[in-house]
Amino acid sequence: MSKKILELKDLKREFIVGSETVRALRGVSFDVEEGEFLTIMGSSGSGKTTLLNILGCLDKPSGGNYILDGTDVKNLDRDELARFRNHKIGFIFQSYNLLSRTSALENVELPLLYNPAVSSSERRERAMHALDSVKLAERYDHMPNQLSGGQQQRVAIARALVNEPVMILADEATGNLDTRTSYEIMSLMQDLNIKQKKTIVFVTHEPDIATFSSRTVTLRDGMVIKDIKNENVKNAAEALASVSKTEDDKS
């Protein structure tokens, strides 16, 4: 049996808004094993974002346990959480969140800047390597505004990879992209998952995207209502090829 990367035990998160208590998560439990490609689905208000914040160590649960790579996050203070994010997690956001007027290479280097163990020459080398692995070797010195949406998201993926995290956490990473580019990104994610054995947790509300993952957890009203293994994982590269083909036919 492979190693458990994530363990969620009866996870609860409550917010106090005025005099009311909003229960965003009402006891979520599931485990993620190393090398899994998990999608978390759910409509808005289902507690998806709250769960994502907790998984990303940006927030702490008000009840239950969240164990990431063998450490219970509950016991960590603000600085330890930051270090944990730096070492264990690679974030990918819907709106890319690249620093403007900063080259692709420097954007990718960013997480390593906060890791004092990495020297500046190693930093550069690892950032180049990460950009190469998302097929942007030609674009080191381009600024984000000189890159397409798909390219920007690939820079963001390289940034998520550069620290060699135990888990990649994607928040609607294809939300701002057209179908074709979405498939490109998903194909890249599948590559990372299969070839580099990266654990990926992908939050989305598009069922289409979920079909590329190996497992789907569906949330509603702060609880898990479905947790199914995907027996028939679609290949994103093939989907991409068929989209290109249809487009070619049209033209």
């Binding site: 914040n53 940006l58 600085d79 930051a82 730096n86 969140n97 620093l99 007027r101 997480p111 906060y114």
Partner: protein, 406 residues
Amino acid sequence: MKILSLIKLSLRALLRNKLRAFLTMLGIIIGVAAVITMMSIGKGSQQSIENSLSNMGSNLITIVPYNNVPGGVRVQGSSVQSLTIEDVSALERQSTHLSAISPIAQSNGQVIKGSLNWPTSIQGVAPEVLEIKKLSLKDGIMFGEDEVRSSAKVCLLGQTVIDNVFEPGENPIGQTIRFNKIPFLVVGVLSPKGQNTFGQDQDDIVIAPYTTVQNRITANRYFQSIVASANNEAESNPASDEILEILRQSHRLRRNQDNDFSVRTQAELINTLNSTSGMLTTLLTVIAGISLLIGGIGIMNIMYVSVTERTKEIGLRMSIGARGIDILMQFLIEAVMISVVGGIIGVVVGVSATMIVAHTLGWPTLISQASILISFFVCALTGVFFGYYPAQKAAMLDPIEALRYE
């Protein structure tokens, strides 16, 4: 995050908004330049006062008559007549702290030589006056005790007098001039001393034996002042006390009577002038310091804007592992950078401004290293002080909120 990377990062952030960074710096630049210029001018004038006073002899003690008739009409000190040759002899006999004493009998008048004339004053003195007032001879000789005893009609001239009554190149030694119709043989020429701090020409002078001036010009037995040298500067104060004692005795003043003379030491005068000009320097520096404070507030303001503007960037940095301290340092170093770079420019501007003032207005200036160092450190401190609060605000942001900020 390493300090070098932080500095690089801040530099880049500043270069991205060059005009804004410069305008923010301007407050600091003006503040520092003002502090340095003001301190240099203040220190310079203080130094020049000090120099010219110690040129006159820092152990110089001056005794002048002092009017103290209670309820009566108060008249100018110099027209009060209380100092006589008896006082001088009493001091010579009894004092232990004085190395030289000379009375001064002064009279205004006209120097005439041939067709040229010049209004000046003649000072009747003892030969010791050279030592007391730090005068030296450029040419000729000083008169001695014999000339004093015989009220000889000999004199020494200052450079200004010579320039005005002699033809250029003419040798005054051995010639005769007339002062208020009385002929004097010129035996010496005094070395020029230039103007003193108060703009008074120290070379516009004729000196002669005091007996000659008293007997032939003023025709009275009183002196306008007595000057003396203490053995050294440190003995100025005991010497002054001693003089007080001796003169009260010699004037037969009763215990309840006030002095009819006053004693001033050069050290006292230096202190008084120094404290005045020191006060002025402090005042100017405080005003300049206020402009530095305003510069600091400018930094704080712009750092707030910068933090708000870059909230999303802060959120991102936090989400990929920046700790609060990393964010704090990033913004703090940016603020310090503004103030330190502003400070360096300010020092350059201040030093140049001082040099321009010294050159064009001819004011005495003194650029002290201390003033540069102090204003530079105050600057860096300003950056830390005014940068800390905005930086702290940035560091305390919640990464979730910050990431969502638009």
